[in-house]
């Protein structure tokens, strides 16, 4: 569904989206990795469990919340992808960790 623009930006950074390896160009966001991996949704809402995926890609809609490197509820569109990053589905409300 999504492809990178045909700029000369080689996809060289390997990240994991739901444990599958995805290559993204340097400077891409974690949300871009989610879309390139072919996921329409990366979270389930806290109240009704409705599936949601990256939408605004500019930090406004909060629909791209994901667990990134073990930290829940991060806005994937605001997080630059780095090699080895693990992006996982945010399933409903996060746990508080006493």
């Amino acid at each position: 569904m999504f492809r990178t623009r045909p700029d000369a930006r080689p996809a060289t950074i390997a990240v994991f989206v739901e444990d599958a390896t995805v290559l993204v160009p340097e400077g891409a966001s974690a949300a871009a990795a989610v879309l390139l991996a072919g996921h329409a949704a990366i979270r389930e809402t806290a109240v009704t469990g409705s599936p949601r995926g990256p939408l605004c890609l500019m930090g406004v809609c909060f629909d791209c919340l994901a667990e990134i490197d073990g930290v829940p509820n991060r806005q994937a569109c605001m997080v630059p992808a780095v090699a080895g990053m693990r992006i996982a589905r945010q399933r409903g409300a996060r746990a508080a960790r006493p």
Partner: protein, 373 residues
């Protein structure tokens, strides 16, 4: 200009006005609910959402009784609103805790709670001072420096916004008329004969209830009443939603039905100023993290401030005008806690035409120089 007539006018569409308007409507009274507009200060929309008993009425046992009776009326109110409107007000009354973050706070709290019980007399006041060791079993991840807390079984919490929506819905479904953008610009008052002018038209009725929050201060004198209320700013911080972890509400921290953790207990005397500033927000966050260190890991997603409607002694004011019988005021900063009493106890009194003598101590006459001496 034509004047719309009804049997009662309620000025103020917040939690206090809407609860009273619904109560009047349920007594069969044709009621108009006049609301200001989006420029209003809207204390109801900044409310923290406690249905709180244990801290209310120290030195004023009549307020303790009024508050506890209101908490007691809440389950029936919530069930009634849910049945009529389908709106869940998220009421939970598992008891509540006031945390003490130091030994000094614990001792101070112990004294206050003992005084509350003494003043309750035959009405009784059940409470326990709980030391940190035992409290740790009740509250997950309690901070190492917490000294303890006071528990009473009367406390609880609810969603202020669903409550406000449910009161409005039930009121209009029952045939009440809600008039928005109707700030009172002028009024005339004679016994059982009141007329108000607003941008939304003129309205007249033999009964009027002033429930306009901070607006009551200016309105009340027109009707031969006093409502010396002042704004007191409170700030609230709200975290992202988390899985339910807190089993009961505390005075300054509660987890909503949908998982957000709300924090706040600030009191600032700064007039009509809603500015939010980091010093107070940092203080709120710091105390919350001392209580529950794990809160520090949660993201804050919202913060707001609102203005409490405070009488000089912090207690509600309820009055009927002597000069213009039929005019009442209702003023308080506990629109959620007191919703039960306002809808189900106060409104029937207003409908019947006089306040019960048990409400006498809430009269603004207590601020007269003769009485205050």
């Amino acid at each position: 200009m034509t004047t719309r007539r009804a049997e009662a006018i309620v000025v103020g569409g917040g939690l206090v006005g809407a609860a009273i308007a619904l109560g009047l409507r349920d007594q069969g009274i044709d009621t108009l609910l006049l609301d200001e507009g989006d420029i209003a200060f809207r204390a109801s929309r900044g409310n923290f959402g406690l249905v709180w008993v244990q801290s209310k009425g120290l030195g004023a046992p009549w307020y303790q009784r009024w508050t506890r009776n209101s908490a007691g009326a809440w389950p029936a109110l919530a069930a009634d609103l849910a049945a009529r409107t389908g709106i869940d007000t998220a009421l939970q009354q598992p008891g509540g805790i006031s945390l003490c973050l130091s030994e000094a706070e614990f001792e101070d709290r112990s004294r206050r709670m003992a005084q509350m019980r003494d003043e309750a007399g035959n009405f009784g006041f059940e409470y326990r001072m709980i030391r940190a060791d035992e409290l740790r079993d009740m509250l997950p991840g309690l901070g190492p420096t917490v000294a303890g807390g006071s528990f009473t079984p009367y406390d609880g919490h609810a969603g202020p916004l669903p409550l406000l929506r449910a009161l409005h819905r039930a009121f209009t479904d029952a045939g009440g008329a809600y008039i928005p953008n109707a700030k009172v610009a002028g009024a005339t008052a004679a016994p059982h004969d009141f007329r108000v002018e607003t941008a939304a038209g003129a309205f007249a009725a033999p009964r009027i209830v002033l429930a306009a929050g901070l607006g009551n201060a200016d309105l009340a004198p027109i009707f031969g009443l006093q409502a010396p209320v002042r704004p007191q700013k409170g700030q609230v911080l709200v975290t992202e939603r988390a899985q339910t972890i807190l089993p009961l509400p505390m005075t300054s921290i509660r987890q909503t039905a949908e998982g957000s953790i709300m924090m706040g207990e600030s009191q600032e005397e700064v007039g009509f100023d809603l500015t939010q500033a980091t010093p107070v927000m940092a203080q709120i966050a710091e105390r919350a993290v001392r209580a529950f260190p794990w809160i520090a890991e949660l993201n804050i997603v919202r913060a707001w401030s609102a203005l409490r409607v405070m009488a000089p002694d912090g207690l509600p004011i309820y009055d009927q005008s002597e000069r213009c019988p039929g005019a009442f005021t209702a003023n308080c900063h506990s629109g959620v806690t007191l919703a039960g009493a306002h809808a189900r106890v106060l409104a029937p009194m207003i409908a019947a035409g006089s306040l019960d003598p048990s409400l006498q101590p809430f009269s603004a006459k207590r601020f007269d120089v003769q009485n205050a001496a």
